[in-house]
């Protein structure tokens, strides 16, 4: 079914994760049934149709290379071919068939990855017609999938590509305690979301703490933080029973299978560790509550998101191995953001936890490198030991880990996907731009070549592609 160049790698590294092309069945052993008729859960569920686009081999020479996996390489070269990184180093020679790009004075980084985007689910131009991110009709909507809202023609997508972003997690909003499944997408122009789905990437589950669910549901409940907690617990108690019922049935496959419940199917896969939990949570004390919740039901939280008070419990995040997807300096737009400090990412990093700079914003996603720079220098200014090598990981390797795709992308290492950005200068300087963006080896954006400046349908007749960028 899946013919991507990276499938071999993924099947080794992401085994056990619910791949996009696998059946929805809760059974780890299940495949398409040999019976003449199959039930819906036995069939492939909304598979990825992603295909790498062809591009000649590329050799970028004499650039500063920030690999995301080690020290910066001065006067380095990188070669990639057929979507894979072949080599990174200082003594490489370009093969005869490669397009050679002069990187003198320029920088190369992995493609940037945003763990928290609402592109495509809250699309521009921002009318009610494009408002598809919150199924705010019930506090628990684990049954909804962000990919079923995603609009590939969102005119914000090319803007993010021009900022060096190659992969996003498109998330449901935070109105609900449990908002639904996320989609991990390769950020390339496409007609359908299926063409963008990152092959083999595990699904995520969006959960939300605090003010938002409380505010949205105040008239019907939950209207308090204790109400929020009760809501998660009730949902996972049901999920626990559902999982047990299915797992028992799958052992024998005798009699009729249990009823299928879309909501509990997703939550059961969280309990099985196949779906990664992404939890919008600002306050330190609430993160501790959510950690207890995860212990109660035996799942792990992959990443807290926003984590404005992460610096207050950075030791806890490090101990639990939970990534922290944060902004550089967002502050004061609501009570749970009131204690923001610009040193948050640096302090979390110093404590040994995995910090990530995320956007949650169509403007912020265009400058993840700049937000990382702000957070880096805010830390260094006050003497927190944080390095450029760590800071580049905030927007590359660490988000790749949070999305469960770090074995195939997120760093510049031989064998990984050729998600590569060529910057006009130091990506931590405001004066630098992403000059070229390669997504899986394909030149998706070139600032100096109008043939590689994608635009969406909405812009036609309204704004010229690439103009003034």
């Amino acid at each position: 079914m899946l013919r991507s160049s990276i499938m071999g790698l993924l099947s080794l590294t992401l085994a056990g994760c619910a791949g996009r092309t696998q059946p929805a069945t809760p059974s780890p052993a299940a495949g398409p049934s040999a019976k003449t008729t199959t039930l819906s859960w036995e069939r492939s569920q909304y598979p990825s149709t992603y295909k790498r686009k062809p591009n000649p081999p590329v050799f970028i020479r004499n650039a500063t290379i920030m690999t995301g996996a080690g020290p910066e390489i001065a006067r380095g070269s990188i070669l990639f071919r057929e979507g894979r990184i072949v080599a990174v180093g200082t003594t490489l020679e370009p093969p005869a068939d490669a397009t050679v790009v002069d990187g003198t004075g320029k920088f190369v980084t992995p493609g940037l990855i945003d763990t928290h985007s609402h592109l495509g689910v809250y699309s521009a131009p921002g009318t009610f017609a494009e408002s598809d991110g919150n199924e705010a009709t019930n506090p628990v909507t684990a049954q909804v999938w962000a990919e079923h809202s995603f609009w590939p023609q969102d005119p914000q997508i090319p803007l993010a590509i021009a900022g060096g972003v190659t992969t996003i997690q498109a998330l449901p909003g935070s109105a609900n305690l449990i908002g639904g499944r996320s989609a991990t997408l390769r950020l390339t122009p496409a007609r359908t979301v299926q063409e963008m789905k990152f092959p083999g990437a595990p699904y995520g589950l969006k959960m939300a703490c605090g003010e938002n669910p409380k505010r949205v549901y105040q008239s019907r409940g939950p209207s308090t933080r204790m109400g929020n907690m009760a809501g998660y617990r009730e949902a996972f108690i049901r999920a626990e029973q559902y999982r047990h019922k299915w797992d028992e049935w799958l052992k024998s496959r005798k009699g009729n299978p249990p009823d299928r419940d879309l909501q509990l199917e997703t939550l059961a896969d969280v309990l099985r560790g196949r779906i990664l939990v992404h939890n919008h949570c600002y306050r330190a004390d609430e993160m501790a509550q959510m950690i207890d919740l995860s212990h109660e039901f035996g799942f792990t939280i992959r990443s807290f998101h926003h984590v404005v008070e992460g610096y207050k419990v950075a030791d806890l995040l490090a101990r639990e191995g939970i990534a922290a997807s944060v902004w550089a300096d967002w502050c004061c737009f609501k009570m749970e953001s009131y204690d923001a400090v610009p040193q948050n990412a640096a302090l979390i990093t110093q404590a040994g936890a995995r910090a990530i700079i995320h956007s949650d914003d169509p403007i912020g996603i265009q400058r993840l490198n700049q937000e990382a720079a702000k957070a880096l220098y805010a830390g260094q200014q006050v003497g927190i030991v944080v390095t450029r090598e760590q800071a580049i990981r905030w927007i590359t390797a660490n988000p790749a880990w949070a999305l469960g795709i770090d074995s195939v992308t997120g760093t510049l290492e031989a064998g990984k996907m050729a998600d590569v950005v060529l910057w006009s200068g130091d990506p931590f300087s405001i004066y630098s731009t992403a000059d070229q963006v390669y997504n899986d080896g394909w030149l998706v954006f070139d600032r100096h070549d109008p043939r590689h400046q994608p635009s969406t349908d909405f812009n036609l007749g309204i704004a010229e592609p690439g103009v003034g960028r």
Binding site: V341, P342, D361, F428
Partner: protein
């Protein structure tokens, strides 16, 4: 009556200004000084006395009693002026109890925000630690939102913070004010013209009005009275407009009523750069705001450069969720897309001061101006820099804010409460 009280309060505020500065002499020596009003000066001195700039140059005599600040290897600029904030008027965005910038109703010309300012809001210290020393703070709802004021980010009393009040009248011609015109942009313009005409009529026939010998006017006497300075061309009017057609409407209104116009937002202002330059209309632009919407789909990152090249006075601002601390990086962004570094620095210092008619006292390092000065560790428009010293009215601001206190409390975990 109310209008009179306000006028008196405003007069009191202006009178109070010079008294609050401490009598102190400070010499900032050895730095690279960017006066903005002229070319940069290497190894220059900025001399401050009693809250004013006494001298700037490479051969300044430093009085014996001066406190010396060694700025060798550093960058010295005027304090930054943020042209579009709600500083002092808003503390926690979603908490109405802390918000004073919004006045109910469509026509709020008499609404001056000054008395809603909370000098104690922690957001002020957060902004000034990044070199923002002066801010336009103003109203943000309704068709005629009200009057903005200019504040220095220093002082524990409204009277001592306010540098000019009123500073400008704020009017909204973007899609968000359509309801005030019956749901149509044409209706908005019709309502505004009637309002302005009524204000002129009121101004001519105050006696008749008091004797109740006039037909009903479209706004209260207080609102009509407040529009007087706008229609006499004495008070600038800031018009929020993004779409080319809305900016053109603002220009049309300005011609008809001889308004001293400033365009704010201005997403598609670059399309009318020539006209804006010819009409001498400054544009207050957020250069990273590029999300397509029906209110202004034609954003481009080099808009500031195009406007500046056409001769428009460009004022750069920001509206990021990280707050006004981000102002200097808006200027850096403009440089990244073609603006000269000097022009970008001017766009967050002298250009806003000029646009709002406050350049007699603000915006550059020149003799006699208010001593708002920042010493930067490196290029202030880039990320790898921070403010080493911030002076507002000649007083050095301590490096403390709610954020620095939180940082110190939690630097080592667990904290010692």
């Amino acid at each position: 009556m109310m209008a009179r009280v306000r006028v008196l309060l405003v007069a009191a505020m202006i009178a109070a200004l010079p008294a609050i500065t401490a009598a102190q002499t400070i010499a900032i020596t050895g730095g690279t000084v960017y006066p903005v009003s002229g070319p940069k000066l290497e190894h220059a001195t900025v001399l401050i006395r009693d809250g004013r700039i006494l001298d700037v140059g490479t051969s300044v005599t430093i009085p014996g009693d001066a406190t010396r600040i060694d700025a060798t290897g550093k960058w010295v600029t005027p304090g930054l002026m943020h042209a579009n904030t709600t500083l002092g008027l808003q503390q926690v965005g979603s908490v109405d109890a802390t918000n004073e910038a919004n006045h109910a109703g469509d026509i709020n010309a008499a609404f001056n925000v000054a008395e809603g300012i909370d000098p104690a809001t922690p957001l002020i210290a957060i902004a000034r630690l990044e070199g923002v020393t002066t801010a336009v703070t103003g109203p943000s709802s309704g068709l005629v939102a009200g009057q903005s004021v200019l504040i220095d980010l220093l002082g524990d009393r409204i009277e001592s913070m306010v540098a000019r009040s009123p500073l400008a009248m704020v009017i909204n011609l973007s899609e968000s004010s359509k309801s005030a015109g019956g749901g149509s942009r044409a209706g908005v313009l019709e309502a505004l013209r009637r309002l302005f005409t009524d204000a002129q009529e009121y101004d001519r026939r105050k006696a008749d009005f008091r004797k109740n010998q006039m037909q009903a006017l479209s706004a209260s006497a207080a609102n009509l009275e407040a529009l007087g300075p706008v229609l006499r061309g004495e008070l600038p009017v800031v018009i929020d407009a993004n779409r080319q057609s809305d900016i053109a409407s603002a220009l049309r209104l300005a011609r008809e009523f001889r308004l001293k116009l400033i365009i704010r937002g201005g997403v598609e202002a670059w399309k009318l750069a020539g006209e804006l330059a010819a009409a001498n209309v400054p544009v207050v632009l957020n250069p990273i705001d590029d999300i397509p919407s029906f209110d202004g789909p034609g954003a481009r990152f080099d808009a500031a450069t195009l406007l500046q090249r056409a001769g428009v006075s460009v004022v750069l601002t920001e509206s990021q969720s990280g707050g006004p601390r981000n102002l200097r990086w808006s200027a850096g962004h403009a440089v990244r897309f073609g603006m000269s570094w000097d022009a970008a620095l001017a766009a967050i210092t002298l250009a806003p001061a000029r646009a709002f008619g406050a350049d007699d006292r603000y915006g550059s390092l020149e003799r006699g101006k208010v001593a708002n000065v920042v010493v930067w560790s490196a290029d202030p428009l880039d990320f790898a820099s921070h403010a080493d010293h911030v002076f507002i009215r000649g007083i050095e601001i301590p490096y403390t804010s709610r954020q620095t206190e939180l940082l110190e409390r939690y630097r080592k975990l667990p904290p010692s409460y």
